[in-house]
């Protein structure tokens, strides 16, 4: 296994920049999730690493080799595709053997490795079948097996679970995670599902519009999103964002809404709010840090319940606050009705403030 380094990687189709100056280091044995909405350039990035499409700029190295100009077959990587890309006319055995045959390994070595991979993935009994005689989950495993037999330097996976049903997806998620741990494999894993990224990866690279937005551990991305896009993309339900205006009142700083209410900020948040380019500040809060009251308490702001979604353990609700939708969660015994007026309390220590102009997170300069 090896380290994968992308330096200033660019891919453009005319004026469309599918990948825009992305730099990223995947350490040896690391599981990195490349995550972002559809069309943000994840597949393109992965294909560039694989060498399947020519780069417009930048360099890529795998291990200690610069592979920028190498063919896919010489990069020593294995790839798992969204639709599995199994050879439909070949049996499972032949599918697994194919990459080894192409590398001209001796027959008995091929057989040994195919059997070993089949055993690891528990598909020994399927070896004689054709791909179309397999379920989605089984096909997925064969696709993993075909990547596994090669003992490549890195695995590239492009939305490998998105064609599976929800239950199987959860199961395969943990299997791929096991696969990563057992092999100590370097994996770049593309997904549009932030939950997959958060649950599986050591680090997640959040992309949007061809740009790398943030590259950090899921916990850090979750706790300290660098901008409003990352904040609203990671986490379910999404972080709520309320656009407000920062106003200095004597020694205090408050966030004022057009409706006239004001939310006083503590010292740290006040300093952040004042560091914004203009007085436009966006307040962000995750549902788990927001309290809902039926009566006004100090530091709470008025809102109106929009929808209520009981899930059993917890009830989610959407509340209109100053024209924005705020996701909250309450105990199932705390009954809320649509259109009911409520008061929302943000946790001052865990709230997020963003610059309304640049959409970047406001941080304390230290």
């Amino acid at each position: 296994m090896a380290q994968v380094v992308l330096k200033d990687v660019v891919k453009n189709y005319g004026d469309v920049y599918a990948v825009n100056h992305v730099s990223l280091t995947v350490e040896d044995g690391e599981f990195v999730a490349l995550v972002g909405p559809s069309g943000c350039g994840k597949t393109t990035t992965l294909n560039l690493v694989a060498g399947l499409i020519p780069m417009s700029g930048g360099t890529i190295s795998i291990g200690d080799r610069d592979v920028t100009d190498l063919d896919p077959k010489d990069r020593d990587i294995a790839m798992v595709f969204q639709n599995y890309a199994l050879y439909p006319q070949k049996s499972v055995y032949k599918n697994l053997a194919f990459p080894l045959q192409m590398r001209k390994l001796p027959k008995d070595e091929i057989d040994k490795r195919v059997q070993a991979a089949a055993k690891t993935l528990d598909i020994v009994h399927l070896l004689e079948r054709k791909p179309r005689e397999l379920s989605g989950g089984q096909q997925q495993r064969v696709a993993l097996g075909r990547a596994l037999v090669r003992e490549p330097r890195a695995f590239l996976m492009d939305e490998p679970l998105s064609n599976l049903d929800a239950k199987l997806r959860v199961q395969m998620r943990s299997e791929i995670k096991r696969f990563h741990q057992d092999l100590n494999a370097t994996i770049i894993y593309v997904t549009h599902d932030q939950l997959e990224a958060v649950t599986m990866s050591d680090k997640m690279a959040v992309m949007n519009g061809g740009f790398l937005q943030q590259y950090d551990s899921p916990a850090n991305v979750f706790a300290n999103p660098v901008n409003m896009f990352v904040a609203s993309f990671v986490g379910s339900p999404a972080m709520s964002l309320v656009p407000l205006t920062a106003v200095t009142k004597g020694t205090d700083v408050v966030l004022a809404s057009p409706e006239g209410w004001e939310l006083p900020l503590n010292a740290a948040n006040a300093k952040k709010a004042l560091s914004a380019k203009s007085n436009k500040v966006v307040l962000g809060g995750r549902h788990s840090t927001i309290k809902v009251h039926k009566a006004q308490v100090p530091g709470s702001v008025p809102g109106k319940v929009y929808t209520v979604e009981p899930t059993g353990d917890v009830t989610f609700a959407q509340v209109f606050v100053s024209g924005a939708v705020v996701n909250v969660s309450v105990d199932p015994t705390f009954l809320l009705r649509p259109d009911e007026p409520v008061f929302i309390e943000f946790d001052q220590n865990r709230m997020h403030l963003f610059d309304g102009e640049t959409e970047m997170a406001l941080k304390l300069a230290d």
């Binding site: 063919d71 896919p72 077959k73 790839m79 639709n83 990459p99 192409m102 090669r150």
Partner: protein
């Protein structure tokens, strides 16, 4: 559509009861009515000639159109044909004509389809040019090629002599040893575009990710073709080959216009031979027996064609 959906949508339709044939026919009486005009026309213009051909094949016919004077002679016509050396010569030429034409039309079509499958400047124009043979009239093309082949005025001989490959003009189509092959060249030229179109459509069905997977797996371009592209083309290749074979078996225009089967029958194939027998020598009975034999062969080919088509359906339905 799944049965579940079917039930949901057609909830009010009662379970079908077992009904007698007469009832079934009566129930779909309007369906029969709607196809009746087509059926009647087909019976008149196809069914009756087939019947009449089969009937004539058992008769000794006068060499005139006074066919009422025909005399039943059992299988004599068939015996005559199958024992005649000309029959076997023409059959061999038909096989050569069909197999060689089909093979080369397919291979050249495949090459062209593969070449045109990748993006390059001028692809559209080239594709249009390569389609010309298929769209020009066979009659016109035959006359043009006849002139191209002409030993005194033909461009091909002129070019060959000019380049110095041969020292005197070659007589391509007035020569018993080259006439059939000269016609095959024209035929291949005429119909390779058809194979090209079919295979180009087939190439569209090869999934891109499969080719990419093979690339990552270390397959060379040739290996990718052999392991990924070609297996995907199998169905369309079968259909194309069979359609070409049937069409070549039934060829008439090119050989008839260019050589009329000559010289000395050296480029005669079944259809031209039958035509000659019937309308040249007015041996209606023998020609009919020939046609019946051809008909049987065509039905066998047709059977395989339909089977290849429906087999593709089964495979697709299974995935």
């Amino acid at each position: 559509m799944s049965t579940v959906q079917g039930q949901a949508i057609f909830r009010d339709v009662p379970e079908p009861k077992r009904v007698g044939l007469r009832q079934k026919v009566w129930n779909s009486r309007f369906d029969y009515l709607y196809v009746a005009p087509a059926i009647i026309v087909m019976l008149i213009v196809i069914g009756y000639p087939i019947y009449y051909t089969i009937e004539l094949s058992f008769f000794n016919t006068p060499a005139s159109l006074a066919l009422s004077a025909k005399q039943f002679n059992g299988l004599d016509n068939y015996v005559t044909i199958l024992t005649s050396p000309i029959f076997w010569k023409v059959t061999w030429q038909t096989v050569v004509w069909t197999v060689v034409s089909t093979f080369f039309a397919f291979m050249i079509g495949l090459g062209a389809a593969l070449a045109l499958h990748r993006e390059f400047a001028g692809r559209g124009v080239l594709r249009a040019i390569l389609l010309i043979p298929w769209v020009v009239s066979a009659v016109a093309a035959s006359y043009v090629w006849k002139w191209l082949y002409h030993s005194d005025f033909g461009a091909i001989s002129a070019m060959l002599t000019q380049v110095g490959l041969v020292d005197k003009p070659i007589n391509f189509i007035d020569n018993t040893s080259t006439s059939l092959y000269a016609l095959i060249v024209v035929n291949v030229w005429k119909e390779f575009s058809f194979a090209m179109i079919m295979l180009m459509a087939g190439l569209q069905t090869v999934p891109d990710t499969l080719l990419r997977a093979a690339q990552v797996d270390g397959a060379s371009p040739w290996q990718r073709f052999w392991h990924v592209t070609f297996p995907h083309l199998r169905g369309v290749s079968m259909v194309t080959l069979l359609l070409l074979a049937v069409q070549n078996f039934n060829s008439f225009i090119i050989p008839w216009i260019m050589t009329g089967g000559g010289p000395a029958g050296s480029s005669d194939i079944w259809i031209t031979h039958i035509y000659q027998l019937a309308f040249g020598r007015q041996r209606w009975g023998v020609a009919s027996a020939y046609a019946v034999i051809l008909f049987i062969v065509m039905m066998v080919l047709g059977y395989f064609y339909v089977r290849a088509l429906t087999k593709g359906d089964d495979a697709r339905a299974a995935t």
